[in-house]
């Protein structure tokens, strides 16, 4: 009964996430609210009666923008870029994995050595260096380019799965598992690079950009930093629970605390 409730909740949350990602009306509505910004100190959230704070239910951020509208836009931007990066990592890793599998011993040796070498670099450091060198002076990189760079960094496990799999037709579930795992990790990864200023353009809403002043606002205006973090936590947690439920069967029981039933 408890498991069934969890499965229903996960499915409902996944449906909500898909609706959130695909429904364009949400985005236009968020932009409309975003125009009505507040001049002055950030307004705190007012959950009970939104009229007393001008309709800004979650308050305003340090630039006076409506925080709820910024969160809708930022969550959408971050989820899309990280999803694109996860899919690209599957495509890039899959292509090189197949090449390593069927390309003969020399090509296999070369690809696997480069894969192993790439996996040795600290991902965040490599990303920052590539973005630093690849960005033309006075300009910013397109988010799709950022996603492609992140995808290359996250691709080595996919290459290994495909190159070393005993039967290629049985790699579907592990590859989906890895892609879902990459998606969650990429949300955190891209939030970090956005926070430090190496990700999407600073003026563009993304979850990392919303947190970029948290060293100044954390203690005084807690809502500006707590709500974006909750969005990140919710997105990553949802992906992780769905991944464990549908792609790694044995781990859900340990996640909900059943003693002695944990894998592998």
């Amino acid at each position: 009964m408890r498991k069934r409730a969890i499965v229903c909740a996960v499915v409902a949350a996944l449906a909500a996430l898909c609706l959130f990602l695909l429904d364009a009306r949400l985005e236009s509505a968020a932009y409309t609210i975003d125009q009505a910004n507040w001049q002055g100190d950030p307004l705190p959230p007012c959950f009970i009666d939104a009229r007393i704070c001008g309709g800004h239910v979650l308050g305003t951020d340090d630039n006076g923008f409506d925080l709820l509208a910024r969160l809708v836009l930022a969550t959408r931007v971050s989820l899309w870029i990280s999803l694109l990066a996860a899919i690209l990592s599957l495509a890039i890793g899959g292509a090189f994995g197949l090449l390593a599998r069927y390309g003969g011993p020399v090509i296999r040796f070369t690809i696997m050595r480069f894969t192993e070498a790439l996996a040795c670099f600290p991902g965040w450091v490599l990303f920052v260096v590539v973005v630093m060198f690849a960005t033309p002076p006075g300009r910013v990189l397109h988010p799709a380019v950022l996603a492609a760079i992140a995808a290359v960094i996250f691709s080595p496990p996919v290459v290994r799965y495909i190159a070393f799999a005993q039967e290629l037709r049985k790699t579907g579930r592990p590859l989906l598992n890895r892609t879902a795992r990459n998606w969650g990790e990429l949300i955190l990864f891209l939030a970090t690079v956005d926070f430090f200023g190496w990700g999407v353009w600073r003026g563009s809403p993304s979850l990392g950009n919303l947190l970029r002043h948290m060293d100044m606002t954390f203690l005084m205006f807690w809502w500006i930093d707590v709500f974006p973090a909750v969005c990140i936590l919710a997105a990553v947690l949802l992906i992780e629970i769905a991944r464990r439920r549908f792609l790694v069967k044995t781990v859900l029981s340990s996640a909900i605390g059943d003693r002695g039933k944990a894998g592998p």
Binding site: G123, M214, E240, V248, S254, R259, A262
Partner: protein, 274 residues
């Protein structure tokens, strides 16, 4: 000597050497294609050579790039070692607690910790424990001129605690499964230290990335802080190239050593991948 995977020592050595060559080639191609244009050998030469008179000089100082990076490495290692010790002890204890009781608080905490951006945890800890409550120093590695162990440890507590929180979920997850399996099977032949070494080698790149974030937030003078400063300084390309190169070679060396001693490939995701 042949390992359980059927590879001879010579083959393993050849692979490690080829991977090291691939690391160097990646750095070289990255700098050549994307960085400032210079002869192929210039970047590597300036990493290992002394002072440099041209625009690739080490930010105008007369200290070699290698020495500059080398001076920061002990700080990074100190941070990583202390945080790993804390994470290992807390992780094994937490996993044992989780397996012996049906209270899922440790699992939930581990999953939540893994789902929050690490910089958020670090800045949150800094704001709450150093700025608001003022229990720990806000940043830096010492508050006095002379060496004082207590003062150093006091400054180390917050950064290493934050980094330990990053490493903790992986250790808890792994040992929870290991202890649960061990409860139903005979005692594992692999010592805990060896298993920790495999996890450490597998997750070392992520740990180094998190160390960079920690060093930037807490102004810890390690190589991550040096790298971050170098990205904003013109003419610091050899420093960036050097840190990138040595970090990757360090990870490779640790993985080779762990593989040789533990006989389990740290690059193999099955050791920690749920």
């Amino acid at each position: 000597m042949t390992d359980p995977l059927g590879e001879s020592a010579r083959s393993r050595l050849l692979k490690a050497a080829a991977t090291a060559g691939a690391v160097a080639l990646i750095v070289l191609v990255l700098l050549r294609l994307l960085g400032p244009k210079a002869p192929y050998t210039t970047f590597f030469w300036h990493i290992f050579s002394g002072t440099s008179p041209d625009r690739y000089a080490n930010s105008g100082t007369d200290i070699s790039v290698l020495a500059t990076i080398g001076a920061r490495v002990p700080f990074t290692l100190e941070l990583i070692v202390v945080s790993l010790l804390v994470a290992a002890v807390a992780g094994v204890a937490g996993a044992a607690l989780q397996v012996r009781t049906s209270w899922p608080i440790v699992t939930v905490a581990a999953v939540v910790l893994r789902s929050v951006p690490f910089f958020y945890l670090a800045i949150g800890m800094q704001m709450l424990l150093a700025v608001n409550v003022q229990i720990f120093p806000t940043a830096g590695y010492t508050g006095v001129d002379d060496f004082n162990l207590a003062d150093r440890l006091w400054h180390l507590a917050l950064p290493s605690g934050a980094l330990a929180l990053f490493a903790l979920p992986t250790i808890v997850e792994y040992f929870k499964r290991r202890l649960a399996v061990a409860a139903h099977a005979r005692r594992s032949e692999v010592p805990i230290a060896a298993e920790l070494a495999v996890i450490f080698a597998a997750r070392l790149p992520e740990l180094l990335s998190a160390a960079v974030v920690t060093e930037v937030i807490f102004a810890w003078p390690g190589e991550g802080r040096l790298l971050f400063d170098a990205t904003f300084a013109s003419g610091a390309i050899p420093i960036i190239a050097g840190i990138l190169l040595f970090n990757a070679l360090f990870v490779l060396a640790i993985r080779v050593v762990v593989r040789e001693f533990v006989r389990q490939a740290p690059g193999d995701d099955s050791v920690y991948d749920a």
